[in-house]
């Protein structure tokens, strides 16, 4: 939480008709070279990951979800075992094949189960991007609801919501996510008649969205509280406009800026959280792949085949950096002064 200081009341909705602040912000963003580069990187990575099935089927001819420890690949006409016994007097341990730099076979090498790393990287990217996007969206929707209700209704409702947030706040965010994951990962989730299997991606999505709600809801609540005392809201209430209309017509449009700026930052946070959970083997479940699970697979090979852990890590750094740059650019373009904390 940071000092939430609102210096100027935002312009009333009547003033925000086209060519309103949104279009102006869009133009400003388009002129920001860093943001545009970030956007291009994100689009390129997304496109590459969407092509994962094509790469696996038609280029590498491999199923990245099937262990292949007893198999072999053909490189330059020679057949090579994917798992190679270590060259030591005791024949202790085995290592998977390293990068071959041949797109047709284990371009970046194989992991400890003999699966093509490059293909898994692309499939893993699909999962990581999907989870972080959905989790960020869900989190922002939840945060908007909590923030608006707490900020607008105030009183007992605010007190109760704030205490619940306090409880969530009191546990370090990763520990909170880990606890929830450990409980759900073994059993799946049963909510009345609905059962979500433990390997369903909805589980990490919901958990990540949930733990970050307090972080996103605080700035929203603060903003709503100031808005509620703003002249145009007081005037509307004096005129007897029903609350839901005030919220929809006056409050919501004025917090949208805050929410939109939060989006890329939340997605960056969600991606970091997803990779951490998967790294601890309580996020995406085998045989599925995400960048976090691949890092985890690579941990046991870090000294012999470091590529398995380094490649997905670099992918995360690139995407999260792009998201952060984009978020920065959007904040400047929309001129939202405070939009919660960047934290991990």
């Amino acid at each position: 939480m940071t000092a939430q200081t609102v210096t100027a009341a935002p312009s009333s909705p009547s003033a925000s008709r086209p060519p309103g602040p949104w279009r102006r912000a869009g133009r400003r963003l388009a002129r920001d070279r860093a943001s545009m580069a970030a956007l291009a990187v994100l689009l390129a990575v997304t496109a590459a990951c969407l092509l994962a099935p094509f790469y696996a089927r038609d280029v590498a001819h491999t199923d990245p979800f099937t262990s292949n420890v007893a198999g072999s690949v053909t490189i330059d006409g020679r057949s090579v075992d994917i798992m190679q016994p270590n060259d030591n007097p005791l024949h202790l341990g085995l290592s998977p094949i390293g990068p071959t730099w041949h797109a047709s076979a284990d371009l970046l090498g194989a992991d400890s189960q003999g699966r093509d790393l490059a293909a898994r990287l692309l499939y893993g990217g699909r999962t990581s991007l999907l989870i972080s996007f959905c989790a960020a969206a869900l989190c922002i929707v939840l945060a908007a609801m909590v923030g608006i209700v707490a900020g607008y209704v105030g009183g007992v409702v605010d007190a109760v919501l704030s205490r619940i947030m306090d409880i969530m706040w009191a546990v370090p965010v990763y520990l909170f996510a880990i606890s929830l994951s450990i409980v759900t990962v073994s059993q799946g989730l049963k909510l009345g008649p609905v059962t979500i299997a433990s390997d369903n991606l909805l589980i990490p999505i919901c958990i990540i969205a949930l733990v970050y709600v307090p972080y996103a809801a605080r700035p929203v609540r603060g903003r709503v509280m100031t808005l509620r005392r703003a002249e145009f809201v007081t005037a509307a209430r004096a005129l007897g406009v029903p609350d839901y209309r005030i919220v929809l017509r006056d409050i919501l449009p004025n917090v949208t800026g805050t929410l939109v700026v939060l989006a890329p930052l939340m997605m960056a946070l969600a991606m970091m959280a997803e990779s951490a959970l998967s790294f601890l083997s309580i996020g995406v479940q085998a045989p599925g792949a995400s960048w976090g699970t691949i890092i985890e697979d690579g941990e046991g090979l870090i000294y012999t085949r470091p590529m398995v852990a380094i490649a997905p890590g670099l992918a995360i750094v690139v995407v999260v950096l792009a998201l952060n740059v984009l978020g920065d650019g959007m904040r400047d373009a929309l001129d939202v002064r405070d939009s919660g904390r960047e934290r991990a």
Binding site: M1, A3, I295, I302, N324, A344
Partner: protein, 324 residues
């Protein structure tokens, strides 16, 4: 003021009780968590199982079990693990706390010094390439997963270049108590410190720069400049002091979260047996007494830090008082 303090205290207690009840209920709702068979040993007879159930009180109603666990944790302090029979959990945490405290304090010192330097430099050279470069560097720091960075650091210092002059001093993973060997302590922790600090250097330098830039347009800054004080002096003395309010409160919360177990990923990759790692182990073993103890420990830290920061705010910054 006294009333506020009391209210805050009440809220804190409420939060702690809420967390402990939640942990307790979730544990008993988790299928497969019944610790009886695990305590009794493999292939134990039904009679042995029944005996264990009575000995550990699993046959009592849940509220009684909860009350007994809280009593053992806070009053008699002899709560024992469900996994390592007879192992007391309170000493286990007291053992792990110095490790985490060493890790977090060192990292905090590094990130405060570096981020103030970076933030002030960037704000002073606002708009230039140094500013952009530093801020981009901060953003990169924010974007690196700490566990991955730790792995790469290990790869370089423990394996690939361990035999070179540059990293031959790096000891094996693990913790060395400060009281036993101060130099060993420092050598064992310096890489984890740096790894953990990277993220926070990024965050704090960016927050500080933003605050410094914002504060420059405030009246008292203009007055100071108008009085003819040098720009550097204005920035450092007046600007920095004002911006420090945000900085300090952020620091309080982050520090508390890390000491309370938030540094677990760093502890995991560097093999440091700290509070975060202990919590994670307890969770993955479904060892309720240890989970309860570590979660309460961590919650106490974070809640108290929250309360302290809020109080500081109330005292320091009159603008916030109306907002709440």
């Amino acid at each position: 003021m006294a009333l506020t303090v009391l209210r805050r205290l009440g809220q804190t207690l409420f939060v702690l009780v809420g967390i402990s009840v939640l942990v307790f209920l979730v544990f008993f709702a988790t299928p497969g968590a019944d610790p009886t068979a695990r305590i009794a040993g493999r292939n134990a007879s039904p009679e042995t199982m029944a005996r264990v159930r009575v000995e550990y009180g699993f046959d009592r109603p849940l509220p009684v079990q909860y009350a007994r666990m809280m009593e053992k944790l806070f009053v008699t302090r002899d709560l024992t693990s469900y996994v390592n029979r007879g192992q007391k959990v309170v000493p286990e945490i007291l053992e792990a706390a110095p490790v985490t405290l060493s890790l977090v304090s060192g990292a905090a010192a590094i990130w405060v010094v570096l981020s103030v330097a970076m933030g002030v430099t960037a704000a002073a050279l606002r708009g230039g390439w140094v500013d952009r470069g530093l801020m981009m560097l901060g953003l990169v720091g924010i974007s690196i997963p700490v566990f991955w960075l730790g792995q790469v650091v290990n790869l370089v210092t423990q394996s690939r270049y361990h035999d070179s002059w540059l990293f031959s001093w790096v000891p094996g993973l693990g913790y060395v108590p400060l009281t036993e060997d101060p130099l060993g302590w420092f050598r064992a922790l310096v890489l984890p410190w740096l790894t953990l600090a990277v993220l926070f250097v990024g965050i704090y330098s960016r927050v500080l720069r933003a605050d410094l830039v914002a504060v420059q347009s405030e009246d008292f800054m203009r007055t100071a400049r108008a009085k003819g004080l040098s720009p550097a002096r204005v920035l450092l003395v007046h600007g920095l002091r004002t911006s420090m309010i945000t900085f300090v409160s952020l620091f309080g919360l982050d520090f508390a979260q890390l000491v309370g177990g938030g540094a677990l990923l760093t502890e995991v990759v560097f093999g440091l047996q700290g509070v975060g790692r202990l919590t994670y182990q307890a969770l993955s073993n479904l060892d309720l007494p240890l989970i309860m103890a570590t979660v309460m420990y961590s919650a106490v830290f974070v809640v108290i830090a929250n309360a302290v920061v809020d109080m500081l705010y109330l005292i320091l910054d009159p603008r916030v008082r109306d907002g709440r």
